[in-house]
Symmetry: C3
C-alpha cells in the first residue's frame, strides 16, 4: 500500500490499514480494519474485529475494545481545556497537559462525524447516532443522539 | 499530481482531482472538481459541474446530480445501524449490511461539516447550513439547519 | 517528512508541519505546529506559537493570531451561500464569490470538530467547546458551546 506512515505499530494477525494513514506507537488487534485517511496516535489500543472508518481521529488516551465500529469523521479528544501555550506564552509540550482517558467498550458503534469529549466511557453494545457530541458516559445497550448526546432508547438486539 | 490513489474511476472531460485523494470505482462528471483529502467510494456517481471540497467523505450508495456543492468535511453515510461484527463476533463484510442510498439533486449545496444520514433525498437547489445533521428529506429550494436539521426558509433565488 | 505538499509557504523559525499536509500560499508563524492531514490555503496567516491539529481545514479568508489552539477536525468556511455553479450552469470561479473573512484572536482555543461559519471574530482567550457550530462573534474570555454556539461562562484564567 503506498502513501502510508506507520511507525512502531503492533499490528495483530490480519489487521489491515489503507491509504494515507498516519499511525504511530499504537496497537491494533487481529482482523481490525483501518480505512484511509485515519490518524491513530501513540499509546492507543484498539481491540480485535474493529472497523475504523475514513477520517477517524484517535489520539493518545483512547482505548477501544473488541468488535467496535468507529464511523467516518469520528473525532476523539484527550484534553478538556486545550491551550496552545503556557501562561508565559511558550508552546505547551506533553508535560503541560493531562491526558484524559476515554474508553469504548466491546461491541459499541460510533456514528459518523461524532465528537467524543474525553473522559467518558461508551458502554458495551451502545450506539452513538451520527453527528452526536458525546459529553457524558453512554450506558451499555443504549442509543444516544444529539448535541449534547442524550439517551434515546434501549437497544434490544 | 503526486500522492493520489485513483483506481477504476471514470473521469469526465475536464474533471480534476487534487492531492491525497482516495477515489475508486466511481464516476465523476465533466468539469467537476475534487479537492484534496477526499474519499469517494465505488458505485458513487457525481454529476457535471460539481465542487467536492476538502475532507468530504462520499461512500457507496451516494448519488450526486449536476451542479452540486459539497462543503468541506461533509460526511455522508450508508448504513443506518452500523456494527463492526456479526452476532457470532466475526467481522462483517459487504454481504452483511444493506447499503441505504442517498440522493443529492441538481444544484443543491451542502454546508461545511454537515452529516448526512443515509436514506434521504436532498432536493433541487436546497441548501444545508454548515454543521447540520440531516436525518430527513430536504425539500427543493429550502434552507435547512441544525441538529437534527429543520427547514429555516424557502430560497428565492 | 515524506508525503507533503507545501507550495509557496512562508514558514517561521521552528515552525513544523507533519505528514499528508496540503499547504499553499500561506504564512505560518514561528514555533507553530501543523499536525498531519491538514489543509491551509492561500492568503491564510497563522501567528506564532499556534497548534493546528489533525484534519483542520483553514481556507482563504481566515486569519489566526498568536498562541491559538485549533482542535482536530476544525472546519472554517469562507462563503455564506456556497453554490457550485453560476446561474448559467457553468462552474463558479474565484471571481464569482466574495471571500468572507474570519479572525481568531490571540490565545483563543477552538475545540475538536467545531464548525466556524465565516464572518466572525473569535475573541482573545475565548474557548469554543468541542462540536460547536459558531455563527456569531465570540466575546473575549468566553466559553461558548452548542449548535448554534452560545456563551456558557466567562473564563477566569
Amino acid at each position: 500500500m503506498p502513501y502510508q506512515e506507520i511507525n512502531n505499530v503492533k499490528m495483530g494477525k490480519n489487521a489491515q490499514a489503507f491509504n494515507f494513514v498516519n499511525l504511530y506507537g499504537c496497537e491494533i488487534g487481529e482482523n481490525t480494519k483501518i480505512a484511509s485517511l485515519v490518524e491513530i496516535q501513540k499509546g492507543v489500543k484498539i481491540g480485535k474485529n474493529c472497523k475504523i472508518l475514513t477520517f477517524a481521529f484517535i489520539p493518545t488516551g483512547v482505548t477501544i475494545e473488541d468488535n467496535v465500529f468507529v464511523g467516518p469523521h469520528t473525532c476523539f479528544t484527550n484534553d478538556k481545556w486545550p491551550r496552545a501555550t503556557r501562561k508565559d506564552g511558550t508552546l505547551q509540550t506533553e508535560e503541560d497537559w493531562e491526558i484524559v482517558p476515554t474508553l469504548v467498550r466491546k461491541g459499541a458503534s460510533i456514528g459518523a462525524n461524532s465528537t467524543i469529549v474525553c473522559g467518558v466511557i461508551i458502554g458495551e453494545n451502545a450506539m452513538v447516532a451520527a453527528g452526536s457530541v458525546v459529553t457524558k458516559d453512554v450506558p451499555a445497550n443504549t442509543l444516544v443522539a444529539g448535541c449534547p448526546a442524550k439517551p434515546v432508547k434501549t437497544i434490544e438486539e
